[in-house]
């Protein structure tokens, strides 16, 4: 599906708000709160496919996303920051939703950090319209407070934490009742700390909802051997395993490209995977019997996959 860049607004030197409009059709497919789209971003000799959360649930006349320029960007977010202009056409797919609002929850506790606020921006109007019980705590760096403040409605249950110490995570989590679901979105370290804290006080897995796109930051190159396809491929430093498979003309399973959905899981026959996803359980990671090709790499010089 084609989308035209309608507007680009800088929220800060590294964060841009981008509005997309349908090119041929009158409207886009509706995306519920928490949905994301995949953007195909043209690069020199290749195409980046990045997942971005829709930040406004309302209206199918446009999709709105917020993009942070990633310091170690492999190219996608840097292109959107440096080369994207209103009027340009991009190929997009979706929306899909791996992070919906839990219907069974009687209260929603939303915890985000940095650019992880984006899915919650689509939650807020829905939760407010439903008059749902919720709390949002957004953490950011001190110098980014003024970037995020205008994005958040002023309300007693919405708090912006501009420094590391202002959110007492343990106290907040421990004070929640049995009827509360937890949603976490942000950088890997924030996700890990928050989810570990919740589990330590007995939060059941089914009430912890998480999403984090990213991790596809590149790394050391390695060789992947494909047992069924009888192929041997080189995965470059700035290339993901999934991209290496696709560049070789294969059609491996994939969807979100951000380590969240679990669709791209492939069985590992040899070598040690270096997991960067948010899908596999701790036990499955340790077992090393499967890998999410979109974000994970190899700890060994070679990886053998059943594909």
């Amino acid at each position: 599906m084609k989308a035209r860049i309608q507007n680009i607004r800088s929220l800060s030197a590294t964060i841009k708000h981008i509005t997309l409009a349908p090119d041929a059709e009158d409207s886009f497919p509706a995306g519920a709160a928490g949905a994301f789209i995949l953007l195909e971003i043209p690069g020199p000799g290749r195409v980046w496919k990045n997942a971005y959360s829709l930040v406004s649930g309302a209206g199918r006349r446009q999709y709105e996303i917020i993009v942070r320029r990633v310091a170690q960007s492999r190219g996608g977010s840097a292109w959107l920051h440096d080369h994207a202009e209103p009027g340009q056409l991009l190929e997009i797919s979706g929306p899909a939703n791996l992070f919906p609002i839990a219907r069974a929850a009687q209260k929603h506790l939303l915890l985000s950090a940095g650019i992880g606020i984006t899915p919650f921006l689509s939650y807020l109007p829905v939760l407010q319209r439903q008059n749902a019980a919720f709390e949002l705590h957004h953490c950011c760096k001190l110098d980014e407070q003024e970037v995020f403040r205008p994005l958040l409605p002023k309300a007693p249950n919405i708090t912006l934490h501009g420094s590391r110490n202002s959110l007492d995570l343990m106290t907040l989590l421990s004070a929640q009742k049995l009827n509360t679901h937890l949603y976490v979105c942000g950088p890997e370290a924030f996700m890990d700390v928050t989810i570990a804290a919740a589990k330590r006080i007995g939060w059941p897995d089914a009430k912890i909802h998480e999403e984090s796109f990213g991790g596809a930051t590149g790394g050391a190159s390695f060789i992947v051997k494909l047992a069924r396809s009888a192929m041997e491929l080189h995965v470059a430093e700035d290339q993901t395993l999934l991209e290496a498979l696709e560049d070789a003309g294969l059609a491996p399973p994939r969807m979100c490209r951000g380590g969240a959905c679990g669709v791209c899981e492939l069985p590992v026959l040899g070598g040690l995977p270096d997991h960067h996803d948010h899908y596999l359980s701790a036990a499955a990671r340790a077992a090393g019997k499967s890998i999410m090709t979109c974000v994970s790499r190899a700890k060994t010089p070679e990886l053998v996959l059943d594909f």
């Binding site: 929850a105 009742k177 049995l178 006080i201 007995g202 939060w203 059941p204 897995d205 089914a206």
Partner: protein, 188 residues
């Protein structure tokens, strides 16, 4: 009976190590030891029992609380769960109707599947829902029960409703009035 998909499958009572605190409730006077595979000496376990006619209330051991009736226990449970912080695991042990009364109370308080554990113990007596007048009939022990509300003779089916926490009772002599099969005690 094992082929009936509406019949839940119960397991022995095991403490979930992921939980921060544990509450065990039973409609029996004491926990049935043969259905328990757990170390109940752990510090963060509380046990609620039903000691009818206030028998033994004063003697209940520490970490344990006795209630006068199932209704009394369930109303305290509802109050307790609305105030308890996240991390509690709830275990119910006892008759099937009680288990699902507890499960439904817990679900209304926002507990999910992985926070509630059910262990069947004690009598197999059934709560029977009269599908004709929609009344509940407690403690059916035979294949045929008489509805206390409308007087219908009910065949106690194996069809169990978790929502109603009861077995379905359908008129046994609907085809030929007063033709009642032999009554047998099969749910002692």
């Amino acid at each position: 009976m094992g082929l009936n998909k509406s019949r839940p499958i119960y397991e022995k009572l095991r403490i979930d190590p992921q939980g921060r605190a544990h509450l065990i409730v039973t409609d029996l006077e004491a926990l049935p030891q043969d259905t328990i595979e757990a170390n109940l000496a752990l510090s963060n376990i509380e046990i609620w029992v039903v000691a009818r006619i206030a028998r033994g209330i004063a003697a209940s051991p520490s970490g344990s609380r006795a209630f006068r009736s199932v209704a009394d226990l369930l109303s305290h449970l509802s109050f307790h769960l609305a105030r308890e912080p996240v991390g509690l695991r709830l275990y119910a042990a006892g008759t099937e109707a009680f288990l699902w009364d507890v499960a439904n109370t817990a679900r209304a308080a926002g507990l999910g599947k992985d926070e509630i554990f059910l262990t069947q113990a004690g009598s197999l007596r059934r709560r029977v829902y009269c599908t004709h007048c929609k009344s509940m009939n407690e403690d059916a022990v035979a294949n045929i029960a008489t509805c206390r509300a409308c007087g219908a003779r009910l065949f106690v089916r194996d069809h169990f409703s978790r929502r109603l926490a009861a077995f379905m009772g359908v008129m046994v002599d609907a085809e030929v009035p007063n033709e009642i099969p032999e009554i047998e005690v099969i749910y002692p």
